[in-house]
Amino acid sequence: MSKLRPQKEYEKTTAFRFFRWLSGSKDPYIGEVEMHIQEENILPEETIIERMREAQMRRDKVYDDELNKPAHLFHKVYVIMAVLFCIALVAVLLITVSYLPPSGNPDNPVNNVVSERYIESGLQETGALNIVAGMILTYRAFDTFGETNVLFIATCCVMILLMVDDAILKKQAVLNDRRYEPKNDAILQGTAFILCPIIFIFGIYIILNGHLSPGGGFSGGAIMGAGLILYVSAFGFKKTQRFFDEHIYKIAKITALCMYGLIGTYFYMTGANGIENHIPLGIPGHILSGGIILPIDICVGLEVACTMYAFYALFRRGGL
């Protein structure tokens, strides 16, 4: 059993001094060591001006055009070369344009077999009234798949650059970001309350009607993404996270891309090997027609909407 020492006795021990030094409650130098307050080294103003003048003179000597002949020459040549380069570029482009065939000429190389085939048998082969959608998503589905991949990779890169992992940092970012703006703007919220459902329904309509009317996956997805951004800027990230958080974002994005990949692969394989594919084309004009166009439109739309929203969220606060 150790006895508790009285306070005065304890203050004499080394342990007490050590812990006092450790906690920094008493400066060991004050009162122990002889100290002089150092005088501030004040330079007279004239000295500073003198030094600045010297530096300026040195700089003048280096950058003076008359003394520094090579730099002067280089600057002149640089300007002349820049002007010449621009003129040459304009001339090359204009000459190239003059070789282009006149527009509207039926013998133009643009009016070849490919576009003829698209226009003449596009409706029977793709089942889409909107020939543009039919072209993009069936004849050129491989290109569109590449574009969707580009979107996916772009979002991944933005995430790598701007994603904030730490929860505290994220909170700070939100506070910083919304400091200078009203948190609950009545006009913005009222407008968003009326407009958001209309924008979403319009986006979904454009995606689902991609094979019948102008539009398609990309346009509809962009409209839905813009609607999501409007919703977020009006009501804040907390309300959006109730139906669209990072988990759902990941599921939607990756499922959409994989679905597109699967449907596309089936389509390329059957098409390239001359096998009959079993996706019914339907009657042109009906909502369930157009073969693979409708599911691919939905996939592309999801992908684009997610990308747009993710860009905005990552720019604003570094997280979804």
């Binding site: 990309f218 346009s219 962009a222 813009a226 951004i229 860009f311 905005y312 720019f315 604003r316």
Partner: protein, 92 residues
């Protein structure tokens, strides 16, 4: 080309030139936004509504909003704050 399209083209050129000559970054984004809007109307005139929808949603909507967010992140939008400060100094 109809007169309407010619007027729109003129607007387009004016917008495109004034974007680069505007000294305020916020103003140049707004002009860029109107450029996209005019471009989307022109796409409708050129009978390609697909492009018009995409241009209106991406060019006038999402891109400009991303620009705004970036300007805010680099603290280039300071007009309101400065104005408030000026008013405050005047009232004092």
């Amino acid at each position: 080309m109809t007169l309407f399209q010619c007027i729109l083209m003129g607007f387009l050129i004016v917008c495109a030139v004034s974007v680069s000559f505007s000294k305020n970054l916020l103003n140049s984004i707004l002009i860029y936004m109107s450029y996209s809007l005019i471009m989307s109307i022109l796409w409708v005139c050129l009978e390609s509504p697909d492009l018009a929808i995409t241009e209106a949603a991406v060019g006038a909507g999402v891109t400009s909003i991303l620009f705004f967010a970036t300007l805010k992140k680099i603290q280039a939008i300071r007009i309101e704050k400065e104005k408030q400060q000026e008013e405050g100094s005047q009232s004092e």
